[in-house]
Symmetry: C2
Subunit: 462 residues, 2 copies
């Protein structure tokens, strides 16, 4: 039995089905929404017009799952887990009818819920989250309404939050011709980067005509006579808005798990073992969990983190499905890789930021270099900035952040693999990375940073 | 003392100078040509017009080196190394004057020479190599001559050889408007790939209008009444050519080293230790070597290989300069990464091909998958094919080959780092690679291949 019909849940169901025929394993999945297996990460591109159809974001429909003998029950919300009796209580959202269903093995994949600060006006028409396809459709409807209402010029959007969702939504709204203001609580956008790297994002966004307001706490959403949002207010300013988008981040959706007495970590996510089985006596070995509702081990800091990301959810589902299906697989953990873009700016990070390293008790050196995506003489060579953290004394790579244009973001993968392998920056300088003038300078930018980090580690003394 | 003023030699000189002031270390470099520190890898893009000026390919001129107290002696060829007396005999190519110069430490960076088969007509006007800037200029002069002579339509070029240089020169000549035929001895182009992957390159080149002739041994260059090359002949065919480009590959330039009694490997390259110091009693610890004239350790097969590539030469130079300057560095070896492009086709490889694995005594499984560079629904998502080799039983990654469009080639870096870390394909499936719709599907193509390889390893039995 699976609770949640998106990436983690349906990957688990599909993988278990691959290993076990219908006669060997019955699979039931409950989904409270109207869609299965959709790409929430794609919503900004759908809103921005890069992706034409909502259905392009749906990897597999409920019907397609049913054809593979997965009994998907849509618009059906699980409202209680009873781990002692190994059963769940579900509610048909149309009829309100409830029933108990027994499980032998349960997969919790309830995802995350977007943060929605308790502010005056937050529920006004014109204020939109972008977590589900329904959210995306509602936002698109609002935009279409305004656009057909003749407000074709000078349309203004305010995005609250400057993390991945915030900056991607800023891009989407720029693409649709809006004047965009991003209001951000932090010192710089992209708090997943160190502030010095976030500063580069800030400058690039300003260069794209996006108004970036940092150090600003939203106090309320102001509404007009028609009850619609008309501006976002902070302590000391007002930002007029025809539409407001919430991009503040998410928290694990673990109310059910909490009520059932399952173990949650300090970030509110479920705690599992390496096979993605929920820990502790209440779960009693019969419950698995994955995706945005769990905490994962950060292999660099040795601590649990919460990271809502489709690629992890898919891996978790694969691991859970293998184990539930009688196979064996583990999810060893993450190194914290993330990539994003705002218009033509590419942003990437992996491993620890400075404050993460300090929190983990690690001493470190940092270096920052500028290089290019291709040989300097090759057309299209674009500047990028690479920051690298290495442990003091040992020189072990701790983290890498990259901000640049085309060809910048995916270079972070080299650092991600190096982190996984616990390489030192000196070992990295010898890495045999692909070189040809259209693809890289003779020293890849990641290696230039590693070389400088070697020097910094040496200079850092004992 | 340095023999050879290109990547390895001048990197070594520069790094040694960084560590030792002029009063502490005198540095002399002999270069028989007219340029220092140039990018031979950039020549195809200069010929093709992507790079405008020859000087764009020069990273540092002799004058710039001299300003940093490196005594570069241009057009001066070293004609003998006398390791017993620790001296070299050099010849001023202008005057023919010779002299002996003593060294304390010698760096051999004599590079590689292009293969030039001993065929009738090979020295005719209109037949060009592309190893040096002078070669590139001579080819450009020939092309300009033809173009101004009014032969503006239906110009035909034949490229002999379908390795990196061959396919890059094919692209360059297509860019200049030539009808291009590539004549290749092998079964498929790009013999650095397995033939099944080379086949994809073949098909793509054909699609670009490049005539690809495989399994063909060139027997002679036919010349016209004016003595110029007019066609390339194989056993059974003739390919008309206004210009012929040799792109057959290179061999280590080690005649001097051989004459001096220094140790050469089975590919004709100098043999060094991990600090890039030439092995054996003749060198007596006073000679280093790096760049295209040495053999390097292949970390996957455990054997020595010869790989002529600017990025290795630069790393060797860095290591040699550190050691000669009194520091310490090593070059641990390579995994055999190479990337290239023909027009919009990207080609990449790392690790072992099937025949390399067999030659190394390794048993393996192979898998091939198709995926895309971005989320399937994101604009510009381009197909790529990834082939992966994993060791039978252990599942250790042995090699990866990628052929695709934009975003394909540099993905091979993930496999290159994984090879260096001796990861298994199962370990790779958990790699935390950057994911966002504009940059990758939720499972990166390299991970899709790794997942399939895991299944193949399991199915491969004990």
């Amino acid at each position: 039995m699976v609770i949640g019909g998106d990436a983690a849940g349906m990957s688990a169901a599909s993988q278990a089905r691959r290993l076990r025929k219908p006669g060997e394993l019955e699979i039931v999945a409950f989904e409270r929404g109207s869609f299965t297996s959709f790409s929430a990460c794609g919503i900004p591109y759908w809103v921005g017009g890069d992706v034409e159809e909502r259905d392009d974001l749906i990897a597999r429909t409920p019907e397609a799952h049913r054809e593979r003998a997965i009994d998907v029950r849509m618009r059906t919300e699980v409202v209680e887990i009873d781990p002692r009796e190994r059963r769940v209580r579900s509610r048909d959202l149309a009829s309100g009818a409830e029933e108990w269903t027994a499980y032998d093995k349960l997969v919790i994949a309830t995802g995350a819920r977007p943060l929605r600060p308790d502010l005056p006006g937050i529920d006004a028409p014109g204020v939109h989250g972008v977590q589900t396809l329904d959210d995306g459709q509602a936002l698109l409807d609002t935009l279409a309404e305004m656009e057909t209402a003749g407000k074709a010029e000078g349309r203004r959007a305010v995005v609250i939050g400057a993390g991945y969702i915030g900056v991607e939504m800023a891009e989407a709204l720029v693409h649709r011709g809006y004047e965009v203001t991003v209001v951000n609580r932090g010192k710089e956008p992209m708090s997943t980067l160190d502030p010095d790297m976030g500063r580069l994002v800030h400058e690039a966004m300003t260069g794209m005509g996006i108004a970036m307001v940092n150090d600003a706490e939203v106090t309320k959403i102001l509404t007009g006579d028609d009850g619609r949002a008309r501006a976002v207010a902070t302590e000391d300013r007002e930002f007029p808005a025809d539409v407001v988008v919430l991009g503040i981040g998410v928290r694990p959706e673990t109310a059910l798990a909490r009520a059932a007495g399952l173990p949650l970590g300090e970030h509110g996510g479920l705690l599992t073992d390496l096979a993605m089985r929920v820990r502790g006596p209440v779960a009693d070995g019969a419950i698995w969990a994955g995706g945005d509702c769990v905490e994962v081990l950060d292999l660099v800091s040795g601590r649990e983190r919460h990271i809502a990301l489709g690629t992890h959810a898919n891996k978790h589902g694969q691991v859970i499905g293998s184990n539930v299906g009688g196979g064996y697989a583990t999810f060893p953990g993450v190194v914290g890789t993330a990539v994003s873009k705002v218009c033509d700016l590419e942003i990437a990070r992996t491993g620890l930021r400075e404050k993460d390293a300090r929190a983990a008790g690690l001493q470190y050196v940092t270096v920052t270099i500028e290089s290019t995506s291709r040989a300097g003489y090759y057309p299209g060579a674009a500047l990028m900035t690479v920051k690298m953290l290495a442990e003091r004394r040992t020189g072990r790579l701790l983290g890498t952040q990259i901000v640049g244009r085309e060809g910048a973001a995916k270079r972070v993968d080299v650092a991600a693999v190096a982190l996984t392998a616990r390489m030192t920056v000196e070992q990295m300088t010898a890495l045999d990375l692909g070189y040809a003038p259209p693809f890289s300078p003779v020293w890849d930018p990641v290696l230039v940073a590693a070389r400088k980090a070697v020097t910094a580690v040496r200079a850092g003394g004992a």
